[in-house]
């Protein structure tokens, strides 16, 4: 049994997470020797990791000036949202057309997990916010998993996580509104009603944008 994660991929995940969850804040200068120390990796491994993240857009590389956590702006957030909607709806359309029993069953499972966690949260159990996010991701990916395009799934994942970084700017979340939206998306997906599912999905993501852009003061 070889669970030999390389140092490189471990540190990549760690830093990516720290950016998404705000431990490394937007526009922060990522000083190489400082990070090399705090993450306990060598400079070369760290640079490999930062280069990967800069290709994805979580880190911005400025030649001869080093690396920075990619800055945020309302404008960028709107772009990310718009692209997420474009890709997620397109993939949803394909998924509703192609999805077989296997896909449908996995979707039902993913929704059940999400809904269960959401109920826990509404009862005041805040300890599991990070797992709620995992289940939210699981649900949204399950929706499109039958789209039959690895490239599309991969691009969607990128945009979901860029969106998530903005979401994490606020500690509060939307509560019961999001729960209802999820249910509507789920129901219309099972009915293979694409127009309705698309409408509800668009609305859901846009409401997320609205909530955050009202609650967070971009400068």
């Amino acid at each position: 049994m070889t669970h030999s994660n390389t140092v490189g991929s471990a540190i990549y995940q760690k830093i990516k997470d720290d950016i998404i969850y705000g431990k490394l804040q937007p526009s922060t200068k990522l000083k190489l020797d400082k990070l090399s120390n705090s993450y306990s990796v060598s400079m070369s491994t760290l640079r490999e990791c930062l280069n990967r993240l800069s290709s994805e857009g979580f880190v911005s590389a400025e030649e001869q000036r080093g690396f920075f956590v990619t800055s945020i702006s309302l404008n960028d957030f709107e772009e990310i949202t718009s692209l997420r909607i474009l890709l997620e709806c397109h993939a949803l359309k394909l998924s509703l057309k192609n999805g077989d029993t296997e896909w449908e069953g996995n979707l039902v499972g993913a929704y059940h997990k999400l809904h269960t966690k959401e109920t826990e949260m509404q009862n005041g159990d805040v300890s599991t916010k990070k797992s709620l996010i995992r289940y939210d991701w699981g649900f949204h990916q399950s929706l499109i998993l039958a789209c039959n395009s690895a490239n599309l799934i991969s691009l969607h994942s990128l945009l979901y996580y860029k969106f998530l970084r903005y979401q994490m700017l606020l500690t509060s979340s939307r509560g019961s509104d999001a729960v209802n939206e999820h249910k509507k998306i789920f129901d219309s997906a099972l009915e293979r009603d694409f127009p309705k599912a698309e409408k509800e999905l668009k609305n859901h993501v846009k409401m997320g944008l609205n909530f955050i852009s009202k609650g967070y003061k971009f400068n």
Copy 2:
């Protein structure tokens, strides 16, 4: 004036080009010390570059097994094409809505360059195929440049070049068909007729797919 390209970004461009233009063929194992020699860069710089390219999808990294030029398949080509159409049409719609005189003028310029080169090529001057490609890129990007989304432009660029790699599998090109299609796209774009422009653009890209998938034998 600072044109001080770093070794890293220079080698990145070189290797990316070599992949797109087929000098480094699909599925080739990218042995580190061999590449380090042939491109005359150190291993660390090379690894940084390969990590960037693997994030973008031109290179595939397999943990502990090294790097490979990303493999090709008809299925992948169809996915890429479909995504390119989705993004390029979406961006075109925004661009036709927002484009001002500045944008329109640049588009006219880009089309003129492309058309001039196309005419040269039809007269038998094959020496400038690579510059024709640059002008084709220039035209297609100009079309969408007023879409007002840096994220969209960047994603579109990625997909254009992934598409281009497939295009480069054949030495021959489509000749006068493509020339006519470009004209139709250009004309309808200037008239701000989105439905027509979209139709012509979709057709243009799909014809590219057809031409290549008929001429190249995927295994």
